[in-house]
Symmetry: C2
Subunit: 82 residues, 2 copies
């Protein structure tokens, strides 16, 4: 995966999940240091409609598999706990 591309693509995610992957809003999960495969399957689930959320579904809708791999790899690479 391309961490730089993931970082660029994840800019919009930072609004809720935090620039360091520790979410600003208690209802939303921290992503930093999370398992890359879990992050990938979650974003795909939102993109493909398996999981539904008024915010995450549109966020994920335009992403390619490569985008998802890069975004997931980027957040997984951040230190857990920030």
């Amino acid at each position: 995966a391309d961490l730089q591309a993931g970082k660029a693509k994840s800019a919009v995610c930072a609004a809720c999940h935090g620039a360091n992957g520790i979410s600003i809003i208690p209802d939303y999960p921290n992503l930093a240091g999370q398992k890359v495969k879990y992050l990938q399957s979650s974003i795909k689930a939102y993109r493909d409609g398996e999981r539904k959320n008024p915010i995450m579904s549109p966020m994920a809708s335009g992403l390619s598999d490569a985008d998802i791999a890069n975004i997931a790899a980027y957040f997984a690479s951040l230190p857990a706990g920030g």
Copy 2:
């Protein structure tokens, strides 16, 4: 929430999510240091059928709101990253 009760109740979760909340299986999320509100809403979603998973749905089915609050508080209290 009662962390001791949460720890006791979470023993079965450790099989996949790890005794320290860092999951053993790459497909399953780390829970250590996750947002308590997100953990609660996730477990409830599995219990109440909003989220469906062949393993998590039965795991969550028998839990009371108090169980869920205790389990969520316990995993949230563990150091992120293990």
